[in-house]
């Protein structure tokens, strides 16, 4: 009942078409990750630079332009992918198709890790933004982030379409507020010559002791780290190429247009924020790093709000409602960004499960056509992560990005190979020209992303990237092992010889007698009605008196079936019974033994505590014996109607028909 309320009504398979998305809905769903990352990428650039007291116009700008350039290249590259793989050319498919299974799995491992990181980083950043308004969140960031993640998870269990509508408005609001803040801030500063100093403008930066007197190579290295962190702004671009089939036709074209839109908007927003950050005197410091703020030459310890909060306070310091809208929409869009991963992760998980790399349970669609198991796995993993890292974006960002660029790089290389392969068979000149152009673009993309990957690896490895790489390696090994296991089992159960379908010569029946009552009578009746080769009853004698009573009751019923009493010197039931069945099958190597187990079916959980659970033990042991079948003969107590009633309430497809309990 509860589940039904939480996740909404079920959808039929034929309703899948309903979940196809128009561009205006697809943009917020698939692009909120990439768009929202401009909310924390500037923070991480400034934090890293502040280590050496270098946060200032020059480096900020240079780094932002580099990031924007990489983003432009990546967007252009993925537009080729979207056209080449209209059925959802995710990086996994591209890598598998062009380089084979192992490359595909490397990409898949990277993507799975990055989906978890996307959720953790986005929600953590959302909480950090919220803190500037909801100060009581301070000290509870981890818990708050975990609660938000589990809430998003629940919403996603409802299915993608309603999520889309739900998410469109705040994403557009975020775009408007970021672009609006930038425009209005620049206008006020350059045209109105008004003061737009933010809350940190009065402070100065004092570098961390370890970084003072920092020159040459060290500066390059720190700038590289700042650039790597800033590249977080690129995450999420690949989401659209994974989701092509979810677009309205013409799918590829709509997806490519959405990608271009996304790239343009992201770059504009990033440049706007960086420009404004300099004008408002925004400063962000990670207290753990050793860098400090000074006021009038004296060091002071004040927590620094997020860059978005500082900009909003600077530009709208005389109009708080606008400030609140900016901060709130930033927070909400970051939460929505996490939603992107809740679309991507289960889809990828399902594809991997279909190919036998993850447990099959990830491939079965849940009630609302969403991949419930994957959604829940992602939610739990991300919630654990924010609890461990206490929702610190600066700590989490070190694990991020590396996965994205692993899959970017392999995917671009795959695309180059894709075009080369197609060029070999394509003869139409116009088509060849398009392909050649695409290959050039992908080659540029590959060069650029592989350079960034190396930079990211070198600059962030010891700061946390090694953890992400470790997780990827574990996933890779795990998926290979699962694949091997499925292959082994498939081999084992494959029908080969006529022997495999041969009939046993006879079927023997053994009825296990626990008590002489209706459940037993039913078991005996079914065994007899089957007219099997040999029907016998057995009971295990634990207590001589009880056995005597049982024998008397058995005689009274005059069942035309012999009863055998098994001695149990150790007052145990399972072993004597199992050993007896074992001896029957050893004596009749071409027969099958059917063990009839009368079972009481109860309706309450507590009734299970009160009734004998030995059938469960016996059944588990008998399952290990080849040529032994267990027939559960259920006897439904009146209370079991309760359980039936519960199912009737939960399952809308329950069809009682002309059925009656009799």
């Amino acid at each position: 009942m509860l589940k039904r309320v939480l996740v909404g009504r079920k959808l039929k398979s034929s309703q899948t078409g309903r979940t196809q998305l128009a561009k205006k809905i697809a943009l917020p769903i698939f692009a909120s990750d990439a768009l929202s990352s401009v909310a924390y990428a500037p923070d991480e650039i400034l934090i890293t630079l502040s280590l050496a007291g270098m946060a200032g116009m020059v480096f900020d700008w240079k780094i932002a332009i580099m990031v924007a350039f990489v983003m432009f290249i990546v967007v252009m590259s993925y537009r080729q992918t979207v056209h080449a793989y209209p059925n959802g050319g995710g990086d996994y498919e591209v890598a598998t198709a062009n380089f084979g299974q192992n490359s595909g799995l490397i990409v898949a491992s990277a993507l799975l890790v990055d989906y978890v990181m996307t959720v953790a980083v986005s929600v953590s950043s959302g909480i950090q933004n919220a803190k500037s308004m909801l100060t009581w969140l301070h000290g509870h960031e981890g818990i708050a982030a975990a609660v938000v993640i589990l809430t998003i998870m629940t919403i996603n269990l409802r299915g993608v379409k309603e999520s889309g509508r739900f998410f469109a408005i705040p994403t557009y609001l975020f775009m408007v507020s970021v672009l609006g803040t930038s425009a209005w801030g620049l206008f006020r500063h350059y045209v109105l010559h008004a003061d737009i100093s933010g809350p940190m403008a009065a402070y100065s930066l004092s570098p961390a002791p370890a970084y003072s007197g920092f020159t040459g190579f060290a500066v390059v290295f720190l700038v590289a780290r700042a650039f790597s962190s800033g590249c977080a702004a690129l995450t999420g671009v690949e989401a659209i190429s994974n989701g092509v089939p979810n677009f309205k036709p013409p799918k590829s074209r709509n997806a490519a247009t959405t990608l271009a839109l996304l790239g343009g908007i992201s770059i504009t927003m990033l440049m706007g924020i960086i420009a404004l950050a300099g004008l408002t005197g925004a400063k962000v410091v990670d207290p753990a790093s050793g860098a400090t703020l000074t006021l009038d030459g004296r060091p002071v310890a004040v927590p620094t709000p997020t860059v978005m909060a500082q900009l909003a306070q600077g530009v709208f310091h005389d109009f708080p409602p606008a400030m609140w809208v900016v901060i709130l929409s930033t927070m909400v869009v970051l939460f929505l960004a996490a939603n992107t991963a809740f679309n991507g992760f289960p889809t990828l998980g399902s594809v991997l499960a279909r190919d036998g790399f993850l447990p099959r349970a990830l491939h079965t669609r849940g009630d609302r056509l969403a991949y419930s198991n994957g959604i829940m796995m992602l939610g739990v993993a991300a919630a654990a992560l924010v609890l461990v890292f206490n929702a610190s974006v600066t700590a989490l960002i070190q694990l991020y990005v590396v996965g994205v660029f692993v899959s970017f790089t392999i995917s671009q290389a795959g695309m180059m190979r894709h075009w080369t392969r197609h060029l070999r068979i394509e003869t139409d000149q116009a088509a060849r020209a398009v392909m050649l152009r695409s290959r050039v673009i992908n080659a540029i993309g590959f060069t650029c992303t592989s350079i960034v990957l190396v930079v990211v690896l070198i600059s962030k490895f010891i700061h946390g990237a090694y953890l992400a790489i470790l997780a990827m390696v574990c996933l890779f090994v795990l998926m290979k092992a699962i694949h091997r296991h499925y292959g082994r089992v498939r081999d084992e159960v494959r029908l080969r010889t006529p022997q495999d379908t041969a009939l046993p010569s006879r079927v023997r029946a053994v009825v296990w007698v626990l008590d002489v009552d209706k459940p037993l009578a039913r078991a005996v009746a079914v065994a007899r009605a089957m007219r099997l080769a040999d029907v016998e009853a057995v009971t295990v004698s634990v207590d001589p008196e009880e056995t005597e009573e049982l024998l008397t009751a058995w005689e009274a019923q005059k069942f035309p079936v012999p009863l055998k009493v098994l001695a149990s010197p150790f007052r145990e039931v399972t072993s004597p019974l199992v050993n007896y069945i074992r001896s029957i099958r050893s004596a009749n190597p071409r027969d099958v033994v059917c063990v009839f187990v009368p079972e009481l079916v109860v309706g309450h959980w507590w009734e299970r505590v009160l009734h004998d659970q030995s059938p469960l033990m016996v059944k588990a042991r008998l399952h290990l014996l080849p040529r032994v079948m267990v027939i559960s003969v259920p006897y439904q107590l009146d209370s079991s109607a309760l359980a039936e009633g519960r199912i009737r309430r939960i399952d809308p497809h329950y069809s009682p028909g002309t059925d009656s309990r009799s």
Copy 2:
């Protein structure tokens, strides 16, 4: 494997005789509770009196004599019970036989609660004693006590005989050390005129503010409370009457002699300790109560050791090894006292389970003829209690005693009725004289214990006794409810009419097809070999492509069985299948439907995660349908040999016979 090492080898039923106890072994086993309670009863008397600054020779003595008197009466009374009920006349049987089920259940509830309290109080007191040597225990009393309880639980899962031997030596050592300390202390004081002042002798007592200027009725009330706490010394006396069948023949006489011995030793020890407590200036204060110690007129806050520790330090201050022996043997014997409850609780639980008042699982003997389930329940409940009360004896003692006296009183009343009933039919004059004498003794016992019960109830109710009474009421209601449930089920499954054993007209077979593989082939073969009325195969179509492949594979095998494909618009497996089975049985109201479910049997837990668990769901749902049987057709993967191997290692009664896996 681990279990086998922990609990030792199994015992045969016929080895039960081996667990009969000689008096010298029975005394420590059944009497360690009663004996050891003299280690904490004096503490509680002194603590209560210290509230009003009244701890001194006069009241201590008076209360100790009253407690000793009650103990004498109770021991005399129980000697009658032991003779009257040689088959283990526990208070439960006495009450049930003479007053009927409800009285029996009241006694049973009281005893069950008190067994838990015995374990909690004894172990807590043991830890408090240990603290005077192992000072690092301070602040971890609750955890330490819980660890000790779970250790004793494990030892008891090994069985009673070895426990007996294991427990005899320290119990005798405790008797010798308490009596020796008393004798040596009195000798040193009165004969050698040596100084035997304990560590607290230099301090004075200052009453709690609430109790200063305390007179008349209030004093009486406080003395009554001290007396009630002192009556903890009586707990455990009834253990012997419960355990008569465990004695060597002549059972009753041996048990009665053991009882008399126990009473004599207990009284002697109690008087010795109280006498010495005065001479050594022993003082115990509960810091929570507000009473304080003063030194040279100034209040000081020092933790007070237990009385036993103070006596040992006073008498043996110049010979520490003897001091350590006293404290250590006290600690160990208190732990052993907990063991008494581990004998009594499972025995009572088993009797109650046999009579249908507790879950049947408590009546099945475990491997070592000990009632494993009961032992574990007791251990867990007591461990929880010491964790909640942080092993404070003073807090726990408030919940204690009331249960003991409830069962004492009802049991003595029952014995009066027992003799009256027997006197009515007994004609032999000598026998009548013995019975008349017994009845008088039991009447005195009843009067005495009922007075103590009233005193205990009045003086301790608000201090915690209400919790014990609440627990008893809950147990009582629970046991009645369980009894009603079993009765209802017995009625429901009783065979009444010939209809109950009638054969179904036909047995139909439905084979559930998940994949075309060896498990399926086996299921089809068994279904065909049974030559049932109607064999058909069904599969649920979740994905059209997969279904197409499955149909092709099915055709290829040329099974002479029709395959029906069920549509599943909601991509679900369970509901369509269950609804179909439901429709078959509705259409054939006199037939039985057998559903063949091919199942993969795996050896590793993780394999279960990887393989489809939908059969479990389907089986659970089908169980609710009358006239539907589920036949599990197991297919053992090679890895399942691992599970079989595990059982072979664990189960010494595993008989492979001429068996081979084929």
